[in-house]
């Protein structure tokens, strides 16, 4: 849990501090990974598979976000 919180804080710090938009997106990925670690840690602690199922959903949403950004990003930056 502490690891997850620390990774989350690093991600939020990255969003706050850096001006480069790619770094900000990568910080968002770090935040999503922190959430996943938390889900799986509790899944391991409680021996319950539901946390892993939700982690799969988080990964799917992250993939969708990455796909949307890949279409959006070159257009904005090439203006």
């Amino acid at each position: 849990m502490l690891l997850s919180a620390a990774l989350f804080i690093i991600g939020v710090t990255g969003v706050m501090l850096r001006r480069n938009i790619i770094i900000i997106f990568m910080s968002i990925e770090l935040i999503l990974n922190a959430v996943n670690i938390n889900l799986i840690a509790f899944s391991y602690k409680l021996q319950n598979g539901v946390g892993q199922v939700f982690a799969i959903f988080v990964i799917a949403v992250a993939a969708a976000e990455a796909a949307g950004r890949a279409g959006y990003h070159p257009r904005v930056l090439s203006q």
């Binding site: 690093i10 710090t13 990568m26 990974n33 391991y44 796909a67 959006y72």
Partner: protein, 170 residues
């Protein structure tokens, strides 16, 4: 005990790589640190008996998302004047050192693999660890079927949206 040591080592790597991701000047280096971060997280998933999630993590994050990041970074960097690259020979010794480490590791696996102890009957593993994929698949296709279908719809919409956004530029 070994479990705890592995956990703290992996945590150290994850946090260190995360700090490097947001603190490096060069964006390409930042993306590469992100790959290492994701791989360390996948190792942590194996430690927490989520083998299926570890495989998904490597495939989707380290394989797919990071490639998209690299595409974006390279496309953006094309507009800048090319930097003068340092001589590749200067870093040759690092490559030799890493190759030596990999060779030593392979030799170690060959030697240790013969004398590895067989898992005894007292080696207890939980049901979630042993039947990981079965458990997740069962939950995913019974209790969480509707969220699963919604996730697939989300991916479809993201794909169509990305194509439309990119098409407008052409």
């Amino acid at each position: 005990m070994l479990h705890a040591i592995a956990f703290y080592v992996l945590s150290f790597f994850i946090l260190g790589f995360a700090v490097l991701v947001i603190s490096t000047r060069n964006t390409v280096h930042s993306v590469l640190y992100l790959v290492l971060n994701f791989l360390a997280i996948a190792a942590l998933y194996v430690l927490l008996t989520a083998q299926f999630l570890a495989v998904i993590q490597v495939l989707v994050y380290a394989g797919g998302i990071v490639v998209l990041y690299l595409f974006v970074v390279m496309l953006v960097n094309l507009k800048r004047p090319p930097e003068d690259h340092s001589a590749p020979q200067r870093h040759a010794w690092i490559g030799f050192a890493l190759a030596g480490v990999v060779l030593a590791e392979l030799g170690g696996i060959l030697v240790m693999g013969r004398v590895a102890p067989q898992p005894g009957p007292n080696m207890e593993m939980s049901d979630l660890a042993l039947h990981n994929v079965e458990r997740i698949g069962m939950l995913l296709y019974t209790d969480y079927l509707i969220p699963f279908e919604l996730a697939s719809m989300l991916l479809l919409v993201a794909m169509v949206g990305a194509i439309i956004l990119a098409k407008r530029e052409l």
